[in-house]
């Protein structure tokens, strides 16, 4: 039971990050490998704000603003000039951005791990098991954010425009949708989600380092692919599934050393059975 809650909590964080991957892929048709490092920047933003004023709310706001701006800037500076270039060039640029962000934060904050504390609210006894308040908070807020995002995409004009661009960019552009604007919006939303993820991540794991984003980034990417990259519900399902698997494995002593192998093994398995992921659309290739 405890393991399940821990898994849901971690899964929620993965899902938030996976949403960033999957939205950018769905709309801009590129894999933004710098996404994990946006989380790291968010975490350092929280770290710095907390060291100035010791309250979580301003830290969260600052992190969201910085990440959103960073997402828009990287899109403008690094990815927009490459629109129409080969996917490989864009991919390599994304990896370059990732290293750039890591090295810059290493220059500013040093290579070491720094402790961070975002409020400590102890734990709650429910039906004989103790759950930490921050886990409950993470879980609750992840659900709220995901519901909000789904509503935004399905009910608002901008959301519909995003769906249209992901369906067919050329047609959307002919219908008068500002494609560049929509892509920028996607990056902004994805990065804001990454900022939220970084706050939840720090609630669970209270330490920052320049390589903090690498592992959750890869895990979330795996989650996005498992769920079907480009599919928003897929990213949520994939993230939560991966989180639960990770926690269940690490609670069984025999499996614990192989946790990461099992997670990525699952990815391989799913790609073999369903190459488009659990909720991905199977689209016939036009020849």
């Amino acid at each position: 039971m405890n393991t399940l809650i821990n898994g849901l909590c971690l899964g929620g964080i993965y899902a938030l990050i996976a949403l960033g991957y999957t939205m950018v892929y769905g709309i801009a048709k590129m894999l933004n490998f710098a996404h994990g490092d946006i989380i790291m920047v968010g975490a350092y933003a929280v770290f710095t704000t907390l060291s100035i004023m010791d309250h979580p709310i301003p830290a969260v706001i600052v992190a969201v603003i910085i990440c959103t701006v960073l997402g828009i800037v990287t899109e403008r500076v690094a990815y927009r000039p490459l629109r129409g270039a080969s996917p490989l060039a864009v991919l390599i640029t994304a990896i370059g951005v990732s290293y750039l962000l890591q090295s810059v934060s290493q220059l500013i904050y040093g290579a070491g791990t720094r402790p961070v504390t975002i409020g400590n609210w102890g734990s709650l006894e429910v039906m004989g098991i103790s759950i930490s308040i921050s886990s409950l908070l993470t879980l609750g807020l992840c659900i709220v954010i995901m519901v909000g995002l789904t509503l935004f995409i399905n009910k608002t004009k901008a959301g519909t425009a995003m769906l249209a661009v992901s369906e067919d960019r050329a047609a959307a552009s002919l219908m008068g949708i500002n494609v560049n604007g929509i892509i920028t919006l996607t990056f902004a939303i994805g990065s804001a989600l990454a900022a939220c993820a970084s706050v939840f991540y720090l609630m669970q794991i209270p330490a920052v380092s320049p390589t903090l984003g690498a592992m959750p980034g890869i895990k979330a990417f795996t989650a996005a692919v498992i769920g079907g990259i480009g599919s928003i519900p897929g990213a949520m399902v994939g993230g939560i599934l991966l989180g639960i698997i990770e926690k269940v494995c690490s609670s069984i002593p025999v499996l614990a050393p192989y946790t990461t192998a099992i997670e990525f093994g699952l990815l391989v398995l799913i790609l073999m059975v369903r190459p488009t992921g659990l909720m991905g659309k199977t689209r016939r290739e036009k020849v």
């Binding site: 402790p115 669970q204 050393p257």
Partner: protein, 382 residues
């Protein structure tokens, strides 16, 4: 024509062999030494440079003190340290360059992986070394001239088991299966627990992690809490241990925490949410009155307080010096192998004892491990 070519080739091969033999056998690198040269390799740059730099500073301080007191029979000492970035291959090449510079005795390498390859090279030339801090078992096994100052991993695991069973009945253990230091400590701990008649999953409970999963400890901590453990044994490094402590605090699981020398430095990683009593096995307590002179001298020279590695480095050099004094070494150009043959019987003879910063009455076994009484330090918090 063909025959003459063959002959010429053969002759050339012979000449090459001869050249090689003279190069390998006859060159005496120590012939021009004007001081006794002690060499070492360690990470002076990179992620683990904090350890290498500390050893370098501690060792240099020891050399300064020896020379200020006039050296040994009027001959001064010098210390050479090569940066190996904690990489085994760089330690091996570093060893060769030190040997060719006339190194006569060594304090080996700082980290275990590097020191294993340093030891293999040193064994070929018969060079004696006294590593300050390489704690893995294989470091001193390769040669009769390999010694260390710190406890080996197995020694600490055994000490931990003996200490913990005295006060606690349900020990919660977490360890890193992907790290030789942590796994080595745990194996020794488990062996000693079996020796003491304790049963896994009754008297102690074990959960693991790997370097890919070394951030989120919620599962391990909540499982150990559910088992009602009355102490946590964390045989790994302070960064991860601090995360475990904070997770335990989040879950209101404030039992005492016990660790090994890897926990040195944990204080800076904690915040006021952590209320558990944290203690660890360490040979060096910076607040102790016994080491005040060293701490003050170190502080004066480098502007910061020494850590355990600095103390180990200082002791390593001093032990070599004291052993040379006991053996009455009197030849500044003595070769490394000859010096080793003089020092080894002193170190393992049974009468040689060294009282240092990292322990009183240190003696060495013929296997090279150091015997000294363990100290347990409680992390003081304000």
């Amino acid at each position: 024509m063909k025959k003459t070519m063959k002959l010429v080739c053969f002759a050339l091969a012979m000449v090459l062999c001869l050249l090689c033999a003279t190069a390998c056998g006859d060159t005496n690198y120590t012939a021009n030494n004007e001081t006794y040269v002690i060499g070492a390799t360690g990470p002076l740059t990179g992620d683990t440079s904090v350890y290498g730099v500390a050893v370098q500073r501690g060792a240099s301080l020891a050399i300064d003190e020896i020379n200020a007191a006039g050296g040994l029979n009027g001959v001064l000492f010098s210390f050479e340290m090569v940066d190996d970035m904690a990489a085994a291959d760089k330690a091996a090449t570093g060893y060769t360059s030190l040997f060719e510079k006339g190194m006569q005795a060594s304090i080996g390498s700082v980290t275990s992986g590097s020191c294993a390859s340093f030891a293999a090279e040193a064994a070929n030339d018969g060079v004696l070394f006294m590593t300050p801090s390489a704690s893995a078992e294989n470091v001193i096994g390769v040669s009769e001239n390999a010694f260390r100052v710190c406890f080996g991993d197995a020694q600490q695991g055994t000490i931990a088991a003996n200490t913990l069973v005295e006060d606690y009945s349900k020990i919660g253990v977490i360890y890193d299966t992907s790290d030789p230091y942590s796994a080595g400590l745990y194996e020794a701990f488990e062996a000693q627990m079996t020796e003491l008649g304790k049963v896994k999953d009754t008297d102690y409970f074990v959960y693991t992690f790997t370097k890919e999963t070394n951030k989120d400890f919620s599962t391990q901590v909540s499982e150990l809490k559910a088992k009602e453990c009355d102490v946590l044994f964390l045989p790994f490094y302070y960064t991860e241990a601090a995360l475990v402590c904070k997770k335990a605090a989040q879950l209101d699981f404030n039992v005492p925490v016990f660790g090994c020398d890897g926990l040195d430095g944990i204080k800076d990683q904690l915040d006021d949410t952590v209320t558990a009593v944290i203690s660890y096995i360490t040979p060096f307590d910076v607040t102790s009155a016994d080491v005040k002179d060293f701490v003050d001298a170190f502080q004066k020279k480098y502007g910061e307080a020494p850590n355990q590695f600095a103390a180990d480095g200082y002791d390593a050099v001093m032990i070599i010096y004291e052993a040379m004094k006991a053996a009455n070494v009197n030849d500044v150009t003595i070769s490394a192998a000859d010096l080793a043959d003089l020092l080894r019987p002193v170190l393992t003879g049974g009468t040689f004892k060294y009282d240092g910063l990292t322990g009183d009455g240190m003696t060495w076994t013929t296997a090279g491990s150091c015997e000294k009484a363990p100290k347990v330090v409680v992390v003081e918090r304000d």
